[in-house]
Symmetry: C2
Subunit: 265 residues, 2 copies
């Protein structure tokens, strides 16, 4: 049994959807979470700066004694997983591979959709992984740049014409393509599960990429008998983070996030 903590990071709040799954699967695991709220979002930025930010996020987390790090951010997973894995002597778990694996077991028709940030979709990481594993799959991708700001402004509810219009606009090509499985390739998107599910219909399976990364982590380590504490760190506005965290964790909790100067790492 390895009592060291698991590190989790994201550009901001989205990674908390992975923490929620970790809490459910490994309640006694200690977790260190970093959200780069001072530089969020990542998904609109270029490769080099995303790589730079990701390295700093990992450098901060490596101050703690960790057994693994989960990149609970599809943008970083899509762009910098290989590099971060090479540079670190502990396992680094991204979202792309576990989300793809789940999609491959769920699809009946072989028609799979992937939605994500502009940087994630532009990277082609999902195509590369899926086509390497199964050349017969038909893959349909779509960048959804407005989803992150809409989620962060709480526009996640049925009946909100703003989110419903944007969902329809982005997802119509995937619906028309007849996908039966849709990878939510951004850890913010599970908050839109209801609205996306309504639009795509009950026959389309939605894959929560952050939760799948947590699932994978839970298979790699024996259950810990620790105290199950989670420490939260952010690079800006801990109070705002504390307020919004409930939305992502889906429980009333005082996360008590601490402020970090990430530019020092």
């Amino acid at each position: 049994m390895d009592k060291r903590a698991i590190g989790v990071f994201d550009s901001g709040l989205g990674g908390l959807t992975a923490v929620r799954r970790l809490h459910a699967l490994m309640p006694q695991e200690n977790i260190i979470y970093f959200g780069d709220t001072g530089r969020v979002p990542y998904g609109t930025r270029g490769r080099d700066i995303i790589t730079k930010y990701a390295r700093q996020d990992v450098a901060f987390l490596r101050q703690f004694d960790l057994k693994s790090i989960i990149i609970a951010c599809n943008t970083v997973s899509a762009i910098a997983l290989d590099l971060l894995s090479k540079e670190n002597d502990i396992p680094i778990i991204g979202t792309v591979e576990p989300a793809c694996r789940r999609a491959m077991t769920m699809t009946q028709t072989g028609r799979v959709g992937v939605i994500g940030t502009a940087a994630t979709i532009r990277s082609g990481a999902y195509e590369k992984y899926l086509h390497k594993k199964d050349g017969t799959l038909d893959l349909f991708t779509q960048a959804c740049p407005l989803f992150v700001p809409l989620v962060e402004n709480g526009r996640v509810h049925r009946g909100d014409v703003v989110i419903e219009t944007v969902v329809k606009e982005y997802l119509t090509p995937l619906k028309d393509a007849g996908v039966d499985t849709l990878i939510l390739g951004c850890t913010h998107y599970p908050l839109l599960e209801e609205v996306i599910g309504d639009f795509m219909g009950p026959d389309v399976t939605l894959i929560d990429s952050g939760a799948e990364a947590a699932n994978l982590a839970s298979t790699q380590f024996d259950p810990n008998e620790g105290t199950g504490t989670t420490q939260y760190f952010v690079s800006d506005d801990p109070q705002g983070f504390n307020q919004l965290a409930e939305l992502f964790l889906q429980e009333k909790v005082d996360v008590g996030a601490e402020l970090v100067d990430i530019s020092r790492y």
Copy 2:
């Protein structure tokens, strides 16, 4: 005649609305523009980090021989103008004061609205300035956090239900309050002039804060007989900046932005 250039900075693209006005008023002026595209947006962040970023932006610009700096960003103007003025030996021009001055000359009823980012509105900078100058004004403020991402995604056109819904939602309280003058307290918002104007009606005067800052600058310096060149620098994705710049400058132009590592300043 002072041949030194004018520095202009913003969190990203919005400040180009001020550059456009500078070009019109002072066509022979040399301009150095910095857009912090690697850390945009500022308006959702906390005071300390906004101050830190603003100091770095100014430090970068001060490498050039400048006669003045225009903060073409209301969030920075609202939070850090006094500090930046103290720390620099050249005039620093913000957006708050010139926008307020124009609003005071335009309003007939004394009922003035201000819209801006969450950080700008939270700062209370517009109230402080206006109430100091004229205690009889009735001021109505409203944060519009979705306007920046919507503008950056090109959602600026009449008939787009997404922007029209959000405009109606944010501005209904100001319309109901009967303001006759509305300060667009964010340099992204002039791109929404049409949609905002449609909603508020023809009797409400819209004040473009970035343009007002440029107006003020043009009164402070004798016209230059320079070559009127503008150099553009950004902290991420120069190509994306070059593409979107046309939207803000409202002319077909290859801005040829150069990349800067702003974390070094």
